[in-house]
């Protein structure tokens, strides 16, 4: 793959957390962690709150417990770095956020430089000081999670971060989108641009009136899809995604096929050249 010399995995000193944890099924939890341990196994088990599972076989553990065992095993070799391969992918969604919070805390306490591979921007934000977005094998942007969110370098990054990325042609503070609509922005620009607007900045209205409303952008659109995730509802309107509360979805009876108006302030948009 890379250049550089080949170092056999056993001499790399990199603790690797496999996506499905790869615990040795024929060994107890304690034996798994002690396999090549250089650290105090008992202390590690206690720290990760799996001390009571020391004699259990991996097959009898829950997903979250298995992950802690795998993490303990990786930390036991006193690694110089940790690599977590989609650490939450093997968990069911109901336990994912609780495990994620714990994992983030363990990583913090371990004090080992850690690379987390994920397909979820939310996980990236949760774990990372630095985010690098990889598209087709190359890093297309790196920076803090906030930097990536505020100025995505491409449509791919914007989509990953969940930000609307609307291509158009700017003339001053007016952008004519490729779809034909016109958007007002607060940053003047000229030529080919992308208008960025976060889904949570967009409100939905049932009529185009807007008298007595300061929001300058009022774009009529048809609802394609409504997906409720936890306490948010993501409403897809063509190329635009709006995030509103499930209560609003119910109150306005928002459903696929309904004609609505997507409303946001000019100051909620940012413009980057495209």
């Amino acid at each position: 793959m890379g250049d550089g010399p080949w170092v056999p995995p056993e001499r790399r000193g990199v603790g690797l957390l496999f996506q499905d944890y790869a615990l040795f099924p024929h060994m107890s939890v304690h034996a798994n962690v002690a396999f090549e341990a250089r650290a105090d196994v008992e202390a590690l088990l206690e720290r990760l709150r799996i001390g009571h599972l020391a004699t259990a076989r991996p097959g009898t553990l829950s997903g979250g417990e298995r992950q802690r065992v795998a993490l303990a095993r990786a930390l036991a070799i006193a690694p110089r770095a940790l690599l977590l391969d989609e650490p939450l992918a093997a968990l069911d969604p109901s336990t994912r956020s609780a495990v994620a919070a714990e994992l983030a805390q363990v990583i913090d306490e371990a004090g080992v430089p850690t690379v987390v591979v994920t397909h979820s921007y939310e996980e990236a934000v949760m774990f990372a000081d630095q985010v690098a977005v990889i598209d087709r094998g190359a890093i297309v942007q790196r920076g803090s999670a906030l930097e990536v969110l505020e100025a995505p370098a491409s449509a791919f990054v914007a989509e990953f971060a969940g930000i609307n990325y609307l291509l158009g042609t700017a003339a001053g503070t007016t952008v004519r989108l490729d779809g034909g609509q016109t958007v007002r922005t607060s940053d003047p620009a000229d030529g080919r641009v992308a208008v960025l607007v976060a889904p949570w900045e967009i409100t939905l209205a049932l009529d185009a009136g807007g008298v007595g409303d300061s929001a300058l952008n009022r774009i009529p659109a048809r609802v394609d899809r409504v997906v409720v995730v936890g306490n948010r509802a993501r409403v897809t309107l063509g190329s635009v995604v709006a995030e509103v509360t499930p209560e609003s979805v119910e109150r306005l009876a928002i459903r696929p096929g309904l004609e609505v108006v997507a409303v946001w302030k000019a100051t909620a948009t940012r413009v980057v050249s495209a």
Partner: protein
């Protein structure tokens, strides 16, 4: 057979290399070869006038018609049974487990002994039992290469055949009954190993 077949099976299961198909065909050849031909081949290689006779003479070794020849003939014919089982058993071991052991700092030998062999043990045990059973019934290669010296190189099946020729039926039926009992016991043991161990080692 187990000492050589286990690492070779592991190697075959975990590596892809040029000529692997040719090599595995060579290893498996004794499976389909008529045992008499296998015995003839051993004789041609290790016999008194065989291809390696001068080397063997230099070492002061004489193989044909000795107990060592019986073992060689049996290993030659039964080895592939074990090797195939071993390769299949190692192929069934999750490669991530082997990779995980490596990232933890274990060298290839420790990965083999502590992870691969325990996880493949059910298949290895069954393979050893089947190979042993095949060796027990070995006739053709043995009689060609080791002959039938009573008390030295005469195996049970050969004794049965010769006894049958002589009309010594008491002797023959007795020996036959012993072989049936041993074979049934081996087969049963192989099944028990496979059933008793597999669920415990199943990942998940």
């Amino acid at each position: 057979m187990v000492l050589v077949g286990t690492p070779v099976g592991y190697w075959m299961a975990t590596h892809e290399f040029r000529g692997k198909a040719v090599l595995s065909t060579m290893f498996e050849l004794p499976l389909v070869l008529p045992p008499a031909v296998a015995g003839l081949g051993l004789f041609a290689a290790f016999g008194r006038t065989g291809m390696l006779s001068s080397e063997l003479d230099a070492l002061g070794l004489q193989l044909p018609f000795t107990p060592a020849a019986v073992v060689m003939a049996m290993t030659f014919v039964a080895g592939p049974f074990y090797l195939r089982q071993a390769e299949a058993a190692f192929s069934a071991v999750d490669r991530d487990l082997l990779a995980a052991a490596r990232t933890l700092g274990a060298g290839p030998a420790k990965v083999f002994l502590r992870v691969a062999v325990p996880l493949a043990s059910a298949g290895l045990g069954a393979g050893a039992a089947l190979g042993w059973a095949r060796a027990l019934g070995e006739f053709g290669a043995t009689i060609m290469f080791a002959g039938s010296l009573q008390g030295v190189t005469q195996t049970a099946p050969i004794a049965i055949y010769l006894g049958f020729e002589r009309g010594d039926f008491d002797h023959v039926y007795g020996l036959g009954a012993v072989l049936i009992a041993i074979s049934a016991a081996v087969l049963l043991a192989a099944k028990l190993i496979a059933r008793g161990r597999l669920p415990r080692f199943a990942p998940g």
